[in-house]
Symmetry: none
Subunit: 208 residues, 2 copies
DNA sequence: TGTTTTTTGTTCTCCTTTTGTTCCATTTTA
DNA sequence: TAAAATGGAACAAAAGGAGAACAAAAAACA
């Protein structure tokens, strides 16, 4: 994930922040890293930021902050702490593989009000096919495991056993329609036996 | 994040407040910081306030107070853990009143990875003016308190002291543009002194 | 109670220092 | 030798200090 230098700098930032309560200046980081120019630091900081490890406000002095990390709890069922819940982040949707195949160790913590009973998991949205209802590329969606769903709800559907998508479900007799929310995509209609509902969309989270 | 001087002053204020129960006067802070003029203190106090570390009542003597921090977020460094943190849900945006005026007792719990340092609050989105970037009517947005923002970020802005909106901010010299993300709405341009930034959008949550 | 004095906070201008950003030439590395 | 990393300088912006004049609040006084 991080290059050795990025890692070294990240640890320095982290240490300075905890010990002194003040984020290091570019000059200080330059000295620590043994560089002769601040421009190198600027590059390292930018990459740390684009990888999501730190945040920083442009043109502000000593304005780095560490992005809080999740503990990696490998668990399938929700773990209830006092007031919060971690659920597994199982992968990206629209990646073209069944969800079972891409389970990871990642978890994401979710506000409890977003979940009801049952088993939940999270997915990262890829693509813009549900843009019209405010589900954007990169969003994290919270899914409640279910094998059927009310008409008109947004579901995770497995088509022909290998393609997973997030679409609005419409049932018409023996066929089901998977309807995107983007005029650039078409509604696809399948016979009921080709589509397996894997979960119902119950929540969405996004970070800026 | 704080600069060394801001940090030093903040600790002094905190210490004085806990030990003596009264906040230090500008004169006392001036002496502690080794300055010859109060204006520098005023600057530091303002920065601490705009960064959300303290609060103060204008034109009142010894009226500083420390902004309470979340239990699981340390003063200067967010601790990684799985607990959600609760932040106040202060009302609806686009409701037409300054945020300060509509504080409620409601809170909403938020996954920690969504927040960094500083004070955060949540708002319920009303209207469709930011639909284009996936911010829909009824969504809950997480806002970090700030009084300025990098160009191009989405902010909570108070216009003419009474109208609050969530829009993308663009600064052009002495005027600011508040840009919606919906072709049905127009970008509005104001002189800088009519617009007050109240916070920066850092996260979004939605329940289905 | 109303008026003056004192304390305290605010604002402004001018200035220096610190810090972050950018761009391009150069070196190093694979 | 192409790609990646570094150096260096110029620049831009933010942070902060001094000093004075001013405004508001609190305290003292009559």
């Amino acid at each position: 994930m991080l290059t050795p230098k990025q890692h070294k700098l990240f640890q320095f930032i982290e240490k300075t922040l905890t010990e002194k309560g003040v984020s290091p200046s570019f000059e200080e980081m330059k000295a620590y890293m043994g560089l002769k120019s601040k421009s190198g630091i600027h590059r390292l900081v930018s990459s740390l930021e684009s990888k999501g490890f730190i945040r920083h406000l442009p043109n502000q002095a000593r304005a780095l902050e560490i992005v809080p990390r999740q503990n990696n709890i490998a668990a399938f069922y929700p773990i209830a702490n006092d007031d919060s819940v971690s659920i597994p982040l199982v992968g990206k949707i629209a990646a073209g593989y069944p969800i079972e195949a891409v389970r990871t160790q990642d978890t994401v913590s979710v506000p409890p009000q977003m979940m009801g009973m049952g088993e939940h998991y999270a997915l990262t949205v890829e693509g813009d096919s549900m843009q019209g209802v405010g589900i954007m590329d990169g969003d994290t969606v919270i899914i409640k495991r279910a094998d059927r769903a009310p008409d008109g709800t947004i579901v995770v559907a497995l088509v022909d056993g290998f393609e997973v998508t997030l679409k609005r479900l419409h049932t018409r007799g023996h066929s089901v329609a998977l309807e995107p929310a983007n005029p650039a995509y078409q509604t696809r209609i399948f016979s009921a036996d080709r589509v397996e509902v894997q979960g119902i969309l119950v929540g969405l989270m996004r970070q800026y």
